[in-house]
């Protein structure tokens, strides 16, 4: 007496066939992805037009609109738009000089050597203002 009944054959589903083919083919050669050197200001989405950078100082407490003017000498001036009450309560608030239309120049006692370091300094200051 036959204990089984042959029901015929049918093609395996595509997903199963792909799995088997992949196992037979093996892994494709590894592709090494090059890292792109990006200055911090670029990484943070600032844009540069002429000698003027536009973007925002980014902190866990929000992004704060700013712009930076870099002079030929390398000296940079950092501006912040409409500082929040928390920033206005910071001990360094007197270092912010109003320049009209709610824009404030952030005065640096020690100038950073590059724009990126200046952005990081201001982001750090803003974070401090919110954590005090």
């Amino acid at each position: 007496m036959r204990r089984l009944k042959d029901l015929g054959t049918r093609p395996a589903p595509n997903s199963v066939r792909e799995l088997i083919l992949r196992a037979v083919r093996g892994h494709a050669p590894t592709t090494q992805v090059e890292r792109r050197p990006l200055a911090y200001w670029q990484e943070r989405g600032w844009t540069l037009s002429g000698n003027r950078y536009t973007g925002s100082y980014q902190t866990p407490y929000g992004a704060f609109q700013g712009w930076i003017e870099e002079q030929r000498s390398g000296h940079a001036e950092f501006y912040l738009y409409n500082p929040s009450n928390e920033i206005r309560s910071h001990s360094h608030w007197t270092c912010f000089q109003q320049r009209g239309s709610d824009w404030y120049l952030v005065h640096m006692a020690k100038q950073p050597k590059d724009v990126s370091s200046g952005i990081m300094t201001i982001e750090r200051l803003i974070r401090e203002a919110y954590e005090r």
Partner: protein
């Protein structure tokens, strides 16, 4: 040993280093010839002190930033 990618903030240049237990921020900056820089895990993290061991505070393969010293302030308010 841990691998670390030190990103020089101004240029985006990436310097790969391998550090041993006890390696300080000063050791790294000195070896990379970045003596006027400070090391941090980013603007939301404090700077490492020069004598501070970095090894225990970073993950293998982590990215850290080297940025130049700057301070917000004017003569009357610089803290």
């Amino acid at each position: 040993m841990k691998k670390l990618s030190v990103v020089v903030a101004g240029t985006g240049q990436i310097r790969d280093v391998e550090i041993q237990s006890g390696t300080t921020a000063g050791d790294i900056l000195h070896q990379l010839n970045l003596s006027d820089y400070l090391l941090s895990k980013g603007p939301n993290e404090p700077f490492f002190a020069a004598a501070e061991s970095v090894y225990d505070k970073v993950q293998d393969g982590e990215k850290v930033f080297a940025s130049t010293k700057a301070e917000v302030g004017i003569t009357v308010c610089a803290a």
